[in-house]
Symmetry: C2
Subunit: 421 residues, 2 copies
């Protein structure tokens, strides 16, 4: 992308060839690749849900730790119960948690609870349901096999074996396994830290009455929510007026505290484009991506920190995030890929020539298909118009409909790709 002159002079801006959305996303992905290597920190296992393992974790103990009973029942030697029925004297009780090191006298039975150590000398457990007991003796009705209902040490995992791989995003089942081997902490990657700077003299905060010409600032709050929902830690959300000194100061604080900075607004062809005016001279590339909404885009590296500059219309900001940031950030955070389906359109659509259009759509499901099973969407209908200011309309969407740049019209029933929001 080439730098373009601002239009504050009296010249007609040149129509530089717009970059494709895919090419631009690839450029951003290459720029963000270093963020795949994150600093490592140690966190308590109970707090590690959703965090990403920084190292392979090997079991520090065997599981089971010791030979134990799979059932509430009676530990015996299998050879004592070859000829049945047989009545054996009861030699004791082993509770779960007992040290359980008293050997089983030959020809006897010991009562054992689930998880309790198998007494030395015993080699199988007869479940409590399968015996008669009078409290002093136990009568076994049928022969058992050595090893029955005995859990041998290390049969789940052995000391030193791989328990979870580096890069695993920790789900409850991983947390369970890490806790079961007695790990108190695990090494995880620090999440990516982002800062958000919105711009524009016209924006005011929620709760303030609007004066003529003013609107509420939604981009900062929306970008912060979108980043949080995709595994990124938001370290600051600030708003800048169109005063370059103010923007420069916020930018400097943002690049000091964050791994990536997002700006909104100030990148287009107006007279007061604070983001472009400040970042352009710092090496920023500002230009057009062949996409709607979200055409004007900027990309700068400031003190080693990537700064993604999205246009200020609220739908443009959100679509820019979905197309140029979310798939990459999810990959970096080890989260599942954005789901993309191909489904038929419920409405005919028109699209500008030469620009890939992302319309807001709502999935249609067939409620009668395969009850209880996951249903892929059956179709998609367009909600809201194509305008990049229709942010309330976007709340009714659950997908972006991806209309390729070469397509200018699609009939009802045409297959389209949809990106789940």
């Amino acid at each position: 992308m080439t730098s373009r002159p601002t239009t504050s002079g009296g010249h007609r801006p040149s129509r530089a060839a717009a970059r494709s959305a895919d090419a631009y996303r690839d450029t951003i992905e290459a720029l963000l690749r270093p963020l795949a290597t994150r600093p490592v920190e140690s966190v308590a296992v109970p707090a590690a849900l959703g965090r990403r393992l920084a190292e392979d974790i090997h079991a520090p103990v065997d599981l089971p730790v010791f030979r134990n009973s799979a059932m509430d029942g009676y530990a015996v030697r299998a050879e004592s119960v070859v000829l049945t029925p047989v009545t054996l004297p009861l030699a004791g009780v082993v509770a779960a948690g007992a040290a359980g090191q008293t050997p089983l006298p030959p020809g006897t039975a010991m009562k054992v609870m689930t998880g309790a150590p198998i007494p030395p000398g015993a080699d199988c457990v007869v479940p409590v349901e399968d015996v008669h007991s009078d409290g002093a003796t136990v009568t076994v009705e049928r022969g058992r096999t050595a090893g029955e209902f005995v859990r041998e040490p290390g049969t789940d995992v052995r000391t030193g074996e791989l328990l979870a791989r580096a890069g695993t995003t920790l789900a409850p089942r991983h947390i369970a396994a890490l806790a079961a081997v007695g790990l108190a902490t695990v090494p995880v990657f620090q999440p990516i830290r982002a800062a958000v700077i919105t711009t524009g003299d016209e924006l005011v905060s929620a709760g303030t009455p609007l004066r003529p010409g003013q609107i509420y600032n939604s981009n900062g709050i929306a970008l912060a929510a979108a980043l949080t929902a995709n595994g990124v830690t938001v370290v600051s959300v600030e708003h800048s007026t169109d005063d370059p000194a103010r923007f420069r100061a916020l930018l400097s604080a943002a690049t000091e505290s964050a791994d990536i900075v997002f700006t909104s607004g100030g990148v287009s062809k107006g007279d007061f484009e604070v983001v472009k005016d400040v970042l352009g001279p710092m090496g920023g590339e500002f230009g057009s991506v062949a996409m709607q909404p979200g055409g004007p885009q900027g990309l700068t590296v400031v003190d080693g920190v990537p700064v993604l500059s999205f246009p200020g219309n609220p739908v443009s900001t959100m679509v820019s995030f979905e197309v140029f940031a979310r798939p990459i950030l999810r990959r970096l955070a080890g989260l599942p890929e954005v789901e993309v389906y191909q489904v038929p359109l419920r409405n005919a659509v028109r699209s500008p020539e030469g620009r890939r259009q992302f319309l807001r759509g709502r999935l249609v499901h067939d409620d009668d298909a395969a009850p209880g099973l996951h249903r892929n969407p059956e179709a998609v209908e367009v909600v809201s118009g194509p305008g990049s200011h229709l942010i309330a309309g976007m709340a009714w969407a659950d997908v972006l409909i991806d209309v390729p740049a070469a397509v200018t019209a699609l009939p009802v029933g045409a297959p389209v790709r949809v990106w789940l929001l």
Copy 2:
């Protein structure tokens, strides 16, 4: 489910008919239904991500708030540019954020920025790319239509129109719309609060060296992680010895602070079943569900608070949560349903007669199918064994394989339902 006698006496326990897992889940769902009505609290919009709206939200303002420009360009009267080319004197500039109440003198143009108010009298905007300007005049090459590039107030949403429905789980796009209409706070339901009590003399905390017969407590940490991952706020995680007084004290604290209590262990047929021994006399129903793992289950209402008592084997606890709690809790929290697919088995499996078995499985995907598109799983392979103690093995699973109670064997290729973990 009928209460069953404990087996601490010398009697053979009766084989009461085990309830089906579906029937038991329905009982729990009915018991938890009151939790659908939650207290309402007001939270700041930026903090409302993932929370569930308690009321319909109507727009307090029009969006757009005022008539504004969709482009950087020149506001004109369409009638001034009927005959083209035409050169109009430039009458001023309207920045975004300006009050913009100076009328457009007839036969002139005013420069306007995207989002800036359209001056009274103007009815269309000529984009900056489509004019020549020398700074004092602007030359328009072709005729325009009234309304072009003008955003009329209320065309996104009108004051009083529905913006988001009660029950909506707030995603970034909802947060964006709420912020755009200037709402500072929204009414949301309080999350369900859960307390967890694990039991068993044999359990010790991570970091403590194990003495003979002891194992690490994983159920508390694992249940807390599973609850958190499913929209529930965990207010406490405590461990009780097998001393009934200790358990009673923890239970009392838990029912005071939580809407639902989960216990693990102490529900089976051993001699020291603290959960069953305390809760049974309080009206708890303890018995068998025809399921493996997770057969022994208990359900009690203590001071109006449902107490779900899961068996203590770690896989039994996790599978009990997945089958009897997770689908219900997700529904109550407005989260998407647990995904269930039907896919062919990669391994032959055996299953006990009369008991529904949940094996741990791992999905197999065909990497070559439809690049870039969401892929439904192609097959499932069994990981780990059926034993309810194999918690490390469960970390390698991503689904539970649901083998119906009537099935005792399935060949390779048999279709099975799998529940995504």
